[in-house]
């Protein structure tokens, strides 16, 4: 059977998809990691420097201690990400297979929508929710449960084929 230009390019595109899926699965198979991270900015202070700063501003040691311990218990602005990263987990790494499965099914050239469950969703995931990007772009930004978001391995978001999640207008009949 003679191959037309279209069928040849389709063949190579399929090959590329399966190779990318294989590479992604291989990466998942060989990676077992725990990522501990905390929020950091360019002007980040150590815990001791922070206490010194608060002391210089007039706060007492008792007040600073109370604030820090309350933040640690509630997972607030200072310790929130740190506490999330420490949550007992092993599910994160295995759950990533769900996304890789989607890549194998949909193909690398397709676009994927980041879908958050919108219940206790972290600000990073809320920001990504409903955004559509190519797999490679999401990989660059950080896949769900890859430690790129505040929720870390506890992330419940999924990447779904953008085509499958296209919002259609509802046509109402009288």
């Amino acid at each position: 059977m003679a191959l037309t230009k279209d069928s040849t390019s389709e063949y190579y595109s399929r090959q590329l998809d399966s190779e990318a899926a294989k590479a992604s699965i291989e990466k998942e198979l060989t990676t077992l990691e725990i990522i501990l991270s905390a929020r950091v900015g360019r002007t980040a202070l150590t815990l001791q420097e922070y206490i010194q700063m608060r002391l210089a501003q007039g706060a007492t040691l008792a007040v600073i201690r109370k604030d820090l311990l309350a933040d640690l218990e509630t997972g607030g602005r200072i310790f929130g990400e740190f506490k999330n990263a420490l949550r007992p987990t092993f599910a994160g790494s295995t759950s990533r297979f769900r996304d890789v499965g989607m890549l194998a099914e949909t193909g690398i050239s397709a676009k994927f929508r980041w879908v958050a469950i919108l219940v206790n969703t972290c600000p990073d995931c809320l920001d990504r929710h409903n955004k559509v990007k190519k797999w490679a772009e999401w990989e660059e930004e950080g896949l769900p449960r890859a430690g790129a978001t505040v929720c870390g391995q506890n992330c419940k978001c999924v990447l779904i084929s953008a085509e499958a999640t296209e919002i259609q207008p509802v046509w109402r009949n009288k």
Binding site: L29, T30, T31, L32, E33, I34, I35, L36, S37, A38, R39, V40, G41, T43, A44, L45, T46, L47, Q48, Y50, I51, Q52, M53, L55, L61, A62, I64, R65, L68, L69, L72, R77, I78, F79, F82, K83, L86, R87, P88, T89, F90, S93, T94, G147
Partner: protein, 144 residues
């Protein structure tokens, strides 16, 4: 007249917890994983599955995930950036470890050796460590 100004986007300083993260990774989480294997405990609670009879015969004992000690010595942590520590399994045990943790098919069904992760106990001890550090730093003894 009293003027009130509501300010948005106040920039609070971020806290760098790199030192604390490194101690937690090395002294608490990695130690917890090693102790868990030695005590045959899974990180999610419960016990690690028993070895297959053929494996027990070969090894001469029934200590799951223990034979030459290579796996126990292969847990390492590395600092990444200013506020990040990654714990991983080094060398060829990374692939084997992942394979065992994901589960192997046996006649009796899927056997999972869930040994790598953060157990509730490790979480509790990590939190205790940070609490202790906060108390230590705010005790006045560190005041410069």
């Amino acid at each position: 007249m009293i003027k009130v100004e509501i300010r948005n986007k106040i920039n609070f300083p971020d806290i760098r917890l790199q030192e604390e993260l490194e101690v937690i990774a090395d002294k608490i989480i990695i130690q917890d994983i090693i102790n868990g294997i030695k005590a045959r405990k899974a990180v999610v609670g419960g016990r690690l599955p028993k070895n297959e009879p053929a494996t027990i015969l070969r090894k001469g004992h029934d200590n799951p995930l223990e034979e030459t000690g290579t796996l126990l010595n292969s847990f390492k942590s590395r600092a990444q950036g200013k506020n990040k520590v990654v714990i991983s399994i080094m060398g060829d045990r990374a692939k084997i470890g992942k394979y065992l943790q994901d589960g192997i098919d046996t006649k009796k069904g899927l056997k999972q050796y869930i040994f790598f992760g953060i157990s509730k106990d490790a979480f509790r001890r990590s939190m205790d460590y940070v609490r202790k550090k906060v108390k230590e730093y705010t005790s006045g003894a560190n005041k410069r």
